[in-house]
Symmetry: C3
Subunit: 261 residues, 3 copies
Amino acid sequence: MLITLTTDFGLGPYVASMKGVILEIDPEAQVVDLDHYIGAQDVREGAYVLYSAASWFPFAIHVGVVDPGVGTARRAIAIACEGAIFVGPDNGLLVPAAEAFGIKEVRHITNKEYTLRRASYVFHGRDIFAPVAAHLSKGVKLRDLGPEISDYVRLDFGTPVVDEEAIRGEVLTVDRFGNIVTNIPRNVVSERWRFNQDLEVSIGGYDIRLRLLRTYGEAVEDALLATMSSSNFLEIAKRNGNAAAIVKATPRMPVSIRHAG
Amino acid sequence: MLITLTTDFGLGPYVASMKGVILEIDPEAQVVDLDHYIGAQDVREGAYVLYSAASWFPFAIHVGVVDPGVGTARRAIAIACEGAIFVGPDNGLLVPAAEAFGIKEVRHITNKEYTLRRASYVFHGRDIFAPVAAHLSKGVKLRDLGPEISDYVRLDFGTPVVDEEAIRGEVLTVDRFGNIVTNIPRNVVSERWRFNQDLEVSIGGYDIRLRLLRTYGEAVEDALLATMSSSNFLEIAKRNGNAAAIVKATPRMPVSIRHAG
Amino acid sequence: MLITLTTDFGLGPYVASMKGVILEIDPEAQVVDLDHYIGAQDVREGAYVLYSAASWFPFAIHVGVVDPGVGTARRAIAIACEGAIFVGPDNGLLVPAAEAFGIKEVRHITNKEYTLRRASYVFHGRDIFAPVAAHLSKGVKLRDLGPEISDYVRLDFGTPVVDEEAIRGEVLTVDRFGNIVTNIPRNVVSERWRFNQDLEVSIGGYDIRLRLLRTYGEAVEDALLATMSSSNFLEIAKRNGNAAAIVKATPRMPVSIRHAG
């Protein structure tokens, strides 16, 4: 079965150890890297990445490890959905992606039969989440992992505030090109504005006039623009350049959009 | 079938989405990362990387996505070669690698049957190139993708100027070690000089006397040297060090080589 | 058969070429990236990474390429162990991992039948180690590679000095979180101290009082702490932060630990 991995470890020995553990338990598993460069311990960014990529996969077990609470009382969980299973810490990381699929059942992983015998206190990715995913891949049932729970930790990307004057949201993530993905969903934008309209965006102390465009290449050379991200959120970008560097955008920075007067 | 991916996305959710789309369409496909750290929108560097790595693979479908023109009028193409198929934007990215194999046929991808139904304007890697590659992997024929074209965008690495005094070329790429790969082919060098001869290299405002050697370890400790890259171009390197940092080498920087007086 | 790759190349065309060569020879091979971000030419760090990750894999051929001596007289070797085979340069890189499995036999790779016909002087990863690994994966026997040797280059992580006053070791590696892994093994620490005791650590010119804890989350918010790394060495970390940045830790920096008075 297909198993994807999302971590903040970087592609190195920690991720490799997880793959080794998985292949030891289920040599037939097909392991795919989803992302290993989540900001260190940035649970919300990890949640966004899982949310934006998992839906493009056929049925898979998605393992997420962005885990500042490793070794403490925070629980390990598995979530069964319509077309996917998620395995990871109970800190909200898995929730937006799982909700997009539709959550059927959440289990607290307590059965030590499916984790490494001497689980370390510092690396549950290798010692708990990887072996649980591999056992699920081999056919173990979710109900065998532990008791069903409903009080798992919730996380969402926030709801933009919409009023007469403006739409106010915040930065979700910045990609390698410096494109700024906000938490303002496509439909909230499209109810009010159309492509090729001019908007005024306030972010990081800057007030910027820019155009809402279908794609980068429609902008004037080197201009800032607004567009719809491939994950269907409002995105602020610069044609042939790095928008985030200009406004020094970072996750959680407030963004507001209004009609350009 | 084997499918390789070359992008400027970084290893993260964009690449993962492409893999998800491919595996959804063809669960039997074997996806291999060729490179995801091409300089942002640097089509020429991407073309070099594809050129230098693709030839080492058995028959494969190579997907390249370095695509500043995404969503504009630039075409999506597929190129059939003797031992490979290339899929990506019509901006030259695929051409040097395809020419090295020998181009048999180039198709403009217009058949929407093999792309995602609602292709975004900002992410053709996921919505066009990945599904087309997966359908080819499953047996779809190149001729089913769209009309044959011959006016595809050409790209080459430039031809060094050779005269009595010097060979003048430019920097193709800089690797992680700071080795500087130029666009001066091995045979142009070997017609004039032999290993263990001393050369004078002008690059980035520096005039450097160095020796043409078979390998790094033959240089005096910490010395700059010239050698032949594993892709058979003249390379400037530093034993146990970073040559690019010394001369601040960047892609397209002019390089000239003459006999050391 | 499973083949893992550990290099200092970065994930790019060099690694891709190795994968291409392997899949050309053995299309059935399953190639897994172990790590490609070893510090450039840092053989000792590469040895640590191989050591810490390889043991988690089922039977595999582990290829290591951190190779400052490429193209010189340094030998290419293959090491057979109880549950693994290692292939790479004879510079110590493979030795700690192989010794952890138990070395059965070391061969000097001299048989040109299993390497690329025109091996370059600068890229033995692609031209020697990758094809040898692929041939082993297909069933070639170790004894067919070349003569057995016993004078291969040794490497270890050093033995900490233990006296009445202190344990003195050094830094092995720093991970992406800034956690500092030392060469002081778990058992050396646990013979003298217990969890929840206070220690004084001297590193990089700093004398730091910190607590030995089971995991990061048990520390006071933002405090430095000592813990046991997932590879069972003493590790110095900062809760929700980067310990290495504070003390400017680098590989080989001396570390000493004593009882906090």
